[in-house]
């Protein structure tokens, strides 16, 4: 356990009754002062991970370490962690000031000190002057900020946020994303943020954990995960993707939709079946003669920044294209893309195997764009 790590899960499994485990042998390490995001579909176990860290529930198997100390059975009120709850959980019988002061009052901090700290925390979240409002007089976004102030005022080592922005409208949500990220940088506290919104995760995080069915599918920086998804689930969940089946003919040569393409991937067996990911924004519309793929435009949606164009090739594979240019529905068009746009995924590869394979590229130094973590 190194100095930078603050929390560590060692083979943690969580079961409720005799049901299949909600978390299945999960291991990870979080470093001090970073912004982490847990991303995954509903019911995948995100809240359960937060509850394990906060101490509201105990793991069925495995160990949880905090600052070099095993904390499996440490009660929640003894942990240096504060939570911003999915439903904010503000105390309705207390006003804004008293809500924020709750933790300090429990710790028997001096009155003058409480006053100063609460004021400071409220101004952190831009709520100066709201001290004596009742909670019911606050809007959803303001309540959320009260919940954040209530967590940060205790200066914990770690703050857990459970989908705190899910109730807000798009504009307020984007604003709060900036504010939260900014706040985390200013305070230098470790944040663990839960969301099932992939754009939110990409925009805010130092590192993302993509979770499905109680297992961590992939972890890494937003660009790592977006550019090099490890499997179909991650590719599908993070952004839109075109995923087709193909086979790896040899190193740097892959075959799909009946054609061979040069690519940047290697380390596969000859003729190994693989899956190919091409992001919609990497596809460019040209004439059928110039295109590397020939497709027919099926439908088109205007998305504001771009058109989302849905096409089918002659094998009935769907191709999603994001383009600023309009296409004509029913017309035959060509799609062109760079060799870097092709991302090859090995079937059923785990994260460790994936990382090991990436390392072999780096060792030989022949593929500069691979990032190894």
């Amino acid at each position: 356990m190194n100095v930078a790590s603050i929390i560590q899960f060692k083979n943690v499994t969580k079961r409720f009754g005799n049901n299949p485990p909600v978390l299945d042998n999960v291991s990870f390490t979080l470093e001090r002062g970073k912004f982490y995001t847990l991303l995954g579909p509903s019911g995948c176990g995100k809240t359960t991970i937060l509850r394990l860290i906060a101490g509201f529930t105990e793991p069925s198997e495995g160990e949880i370490w905090f600052n070099g100390q095993k904390i499996n059975h440490l009660p929640a009120n003894k942990r240096q962690v504060n939570t911003v709850f999915q439903d904010y959980a503000l105390f309705p019988h207390l006003n804004v000031f008293e809500n924020v002061a709750f933790g300090l009052r429990i710790k028997k901090v001096k009155k003058t000190e409480i006053e100063a700290k609460v004021k400071q925390a409220l101004s952190f979240v831009n709520l100066d002057g709201y001290e004596y409002r009742e909670i019911r007089e606050m809007s959803g976004g303001q309540r959320q900020r009260v919940a954040i102030a209530r967590a940060i005022v205790n200066k914990p080592e770690m703050i857990l946020l459970d989908e705190p922005l899910s109730a807000l409208d798009l504009k307020l949500r984007t604003e709060m994303q900036y504010e939260l990220r900014e706040l985390q940088r200013r305070l230098g506290i470790t944040f663990v943020f839960v969301t099932h919104d992939q754009e939110e995760a990409l925009a805010m995080s130092d590192e993302i954990f993509v979770i499905n069915n109680g297992k961590i599918q992939q972890s890494g920086t937003p660009t790592d995960i977006y550019d090099e998804p490890i499997n179909r689930f991650v590719a599908d969940f993070i952004g839109e993707s075109n995923i087709v089946e193909g086979k790896m003919v040899e190193d740097y040569l892959v075959e799909f939709v009946g054609k061979k393409f040069e690519c940047d991937d290697k380390g596969f067996n000859a003729n190994e079946p693989v899956e190919i990911v091409i992001r919609p924004e990497d596809l460019e519309i040209t004439t059928p003669e110039l295109g590397r793929l020939q497709v027919r435009v099926d439908s088109q949606l205007f998305r504001g920044v771009h058109y989302e164009i849905c096409c089918y090739d002659k094998d009935d594979n769907e191709w999603l294209v994001h383009s600023t240019k309009k296409a004509k529905v029913g017309k035959e068009i060509g799609l062109s893309f760079d060799r870097e746009a092709i991302h090859v995924m090995r079937l059923g590869e785990t994260e460790e195997e994936f990382d090991r394979r990436l390392e072999t590229y780096a060792d030989k130094g022949d593929s500069a764009q691979w990032k190894v973590n």
């Binding site: 906060a54 009120n77 939570t83 309705p92 709750f102 429990i106 009742e134 959803g140 205790n154």
Partner: protein
């Protein structure tokens, strides 16, 4: 009977000179206050126990037991208490009346407090523990303030139930101890005296006052339930 000739304070004056009557009024008030106080405490603890029951079965069983006491007729409750006290050898009088009043008020308090507990989002308790509160802090700083409208309502319900109870008290009282309702009953049987009318008028005013207080409490109650926590 009497011809109405105008208002008079005479019977009130007489009432207030009747020390026996005054002692009975005092007894009634003391029994009501004490039984309301104790039944509120036990009722609240009972509601917390039902709320915290882990198994659904235990929860339902406790709730049904509670409801049995509410639906059973006063006469049966009174008779049962009489049998119980006689078997247990409790002397009939102040304590037997107080105990039975506490006993029949507890289920009422439970019924007033439990919905408030159910209304409370469990994440409030998690939040308090998250902020460093131990179990005592959670109880006194979060749970009790949250359910306090229910507690007040329960207290006043218990108070009124105790004040106007006749049948149960009639069974378990004895040794010269009497409450207002029992006393009025025996006075009325002896023949009409205008003392009773004066007493009834006073009783009516007190009850009215209690109803008004209760009304304001429920008002506060409704206001409180619209508060901050959003439930999903």
């Amino acid at each position: 009977m009497f011809d109405f000739k105008g208002f008079s304070m005479q019977w009130y004056r007489e009432l207030f000179h009747d020390t026996r009557m005054l002692i009975i009024v005092l007894n009634t008030i003391i029994v009501a206050l004490l039984s309301a106080l104790f039944s509120t405490i036990f009722g609240m603890l009972g509601a917390l126990a039902i709320y915290n029951a882990k198994k659904r079965q235990t929860k339902n069983m406790l709730l049904s037991l509670n409801n049995v006491l509410i639906v059973s007729p006063d006469v049966i409750i009174g008779a049962s208490f009489l049998i119980l006290f006689t078997i247990a050898g409790v002397k009939l009088g102040f304590y037997s009346v107080l105990l039975s009043h506490i006993a029949f008020s507890i289920p009422i308090v439970v019924l007033m407090v439990l919905p408030k507990l159910m209304e409370m989002s469990p994440s409030l308790i998690d939040a308090a523990r998250d902020l460093g509160a131990n179990s005592w802090d959670v109880l006194t700083k979060v749970i009790i303030p949250f359910i306090s409208p229910g507690i007040f309502a329960g207290f006043f319900m218990a108070l009124t139930y105790s004040l106007d109870d006749f049948s149960v008290t009639f069974f378990v009282t004895g040794n010269g101890f009497s409450t207002l309702s029992v006393e009025i009953y025996s006075l009325a049987r002896r023949g009409i005296s205008l003392n009773i009318n004066a007493l009834s008028a006073l009783l009516f005013l007190v009850t009215l006052l209690l109803v008004v207080i209760y009304h304001f409490i429920t008002l506060r109650n409704n206001k409180a339930s619209g508060l901050g926590v959003q439930k999903r």
